[in-house]
């Protein structure tokens, strides 16, 4: 899995990772986040080799949306508050909470959802909650792992537009969608 493999991403790039299932797309993200370690080779982030010190810096700079929707339990408002109470995110707490309703609205979620428990949400709702939670972090680098798999067509394009058309965002995305915004510059990373 993932042998003789090298690539680099520049700020502002939008990269779609593709390849058949089982090829190691998710493993690539796990390697980048330091949840797995490569047997050989190295990963560099902002010109520093990823190691036991820099990995923590990367986790504070990158927003990751996993395809696994095990994001927690309990009240949704409390869930967002908890994310923003993490020391690394505390500085954005007020600003992000002020923008929360706008994000809910953009991703077609009612404000009343905030009173519900995560366990009560559908797969599609949970997926959008994970996306919003990543956006609340006010980061500009995104690792997105199949973030539209549980969404219908119109929502899919809305989500992908949001990330792929923002010139400030650097995006590495695993996606099986055929839809791509017409005026976006997309690079493809094909694993085989």
């Amino acid at each position: 899995m993932l042998q003789d493999f090298s690539f680099d991403i520049q700020p502002g790039d939008k990269v779609i990772v593709s390849g058949r299932s089982g090829i190691g797309k998710t493993t690539l993200f796990r390697l980048l986040l330091g949840f797995e370690k490569p047997d050989n080779g190295a990963i560099y982030f902002e010109n520093q080799m990823l190691d036991e010190t820099t990995v923590w810096k990367l986790r504070r700079r990158v927003a990751y949306v996993s395809q696994d929707l095990n994001i927690g339990r309990g009240n949704l408002q409390a869930f967002f508050n908890e994310t923003l109470s993490i020391k690394a995110n505390l500085q954005y707490k007020n600003d992000s909470l002020n923008g929360l309703n706008g994000l809910l609205d953009y991703f077609n979620l009612p404000e009343t959802l905030l009173q519900k428990n995560i366990e009560e949400l559908s797969g599609g709702e949970r997926q959008r909650v994970a996306i919003i939670n990543a956006l609340l972090l006010k980061r500009t680098i995104f690792f997105l792992d199949e973030i539209t798999s549980a969404l219908d067509k119109s929502l899919k394009s809305k989500v992908l537009d949001y990330f792929l058309l923002n010139p400030d965002f650097t995006v590495l995305s695993i996606s099986h969608d055929n839809y791509l915004p017409a005026n976006a510059t997309i690079k493809t990373l094909k694993l085989d």
Binding site: R30, L33, G34, F35, K37, E52, V55, W56, R59, R60, V62, A63, Y64, S66, D68, N70, I71, G72, T83, I86, K87, A88, N89, N133, L137
Partner: protein
């Protein structure tokens, strides 16, 4: 104080006859545990007889060093039992768990003996070993639940743990959710037990004291004090256990070492 009435040899034989009831039940229901039942009963009897003789000796001499050594032995056995029953590897956990048990139980028992019972000799065998045994026994049960649940739920819910790390959480912040859950699991039985105490069950300590000749009102005061001591040692020992074991159980990337489990899949 007049002690409880002694049980004669005849009494113990009558007690053996009472054992026929569970044995007959087992035989009638064709349960395959008759041998186990007999071996366990015999083992319990031998163990208690040996401990009985030993405690007679310990209580008679009431020497601080001997009391201390015996209490440390009890703690070591408790630490082994917690690790074994939590499905964790002994060599990895024996140091930190023993240290946590020593610190928390010594603190609580010495506090109890000095500030609550107002003993002049705080290492007195009768108090240190009896009170220590109760505190230790209960915090042992709580730690099997607490420590086991903590590490098993991180292994089971690793995606959730990774998710928290990916949000920028420090290892401590990411583990807090799991620690809270384990604390609840560990403390709930003690709290539930406290709410029905005296009505549904007469606690062992009170029973012992009443049989030993104490008036119920004295027994009750001791019971209240011991329950609070148990809660204190439970919270202290679980906190210390987690605090001392976490450093060794995760790598520098914040990933849990799977080698800490005995049944490493």
């Amino acid at each position: 104080m007049n002690g409880a009435q002694d049980l004669s040899l005849f009494s113990m034989i009558m007690c053996g006859i009472l054992l026929l009831v569970p044995l007959l039940g087992v035989w009638y229901l064709k349960l395959d545990i008759a041998r186990n039942l007999l071996v366990s009963t015999l083992r319990m009897a031998v163990q208690l007889i040996l401990v009985g003789f030993f405690l007679q000796f310990v209580f008679r001499y009431n020497n601080w060093l001997l009391n201390l050594v015996w209490f440390l032995t009890m703690i070591a056995v408790a630490a082994f039992s917690v690790i074994k029953n939590s499905n964790l590897k002994l060599h990895h956990f024996v140091g930190p768990v023993s240290l946590s048990f020593i610190l928390s139980n010594f603190f609580v028992v010495l506090y109890f003996n000095y500030f609550i019972v107002n003993l002049n000799f705080i290492l007195d065998a009768k108090y240190m070993i009896a009170i220590g045994g109760m505190v230790l026994g209960n915090s042992l049960r709580a730690n099997i639940v607490g420590l086991g649940d903590f590490y098993q739920s991180i292994r089971k819910d690793e995606q959730l743990y990774f998710y928290k790390l990916s949000l920028g959480a420090t290892r401590f912040e990411a583990l807090l959710h799991f620690a809270k859950k384990s604390f609840l699991a560990a403390m709930n039985p003690t709290i539930a037990n406290m709410t029905t105490m005296g009505i549904v069950s007469l606690p062992g300590m009170m029973t012992g004291q009443i049989l030993g000749g104490s008036v119920p009102l004295v027994a009750i005061k001791y019971q209240i004090a011991i329950m609070i001591a148990i809660l204190a040692s439970t919270v202290l020992s679980i906190s210390l256990c987690l605090f001392f074991t976490v450093g060794k159980s995760f790598d520098k990337y914040g990933i849990l070492h799977k080698t800490i489990f005995r049944n490493n899949p």
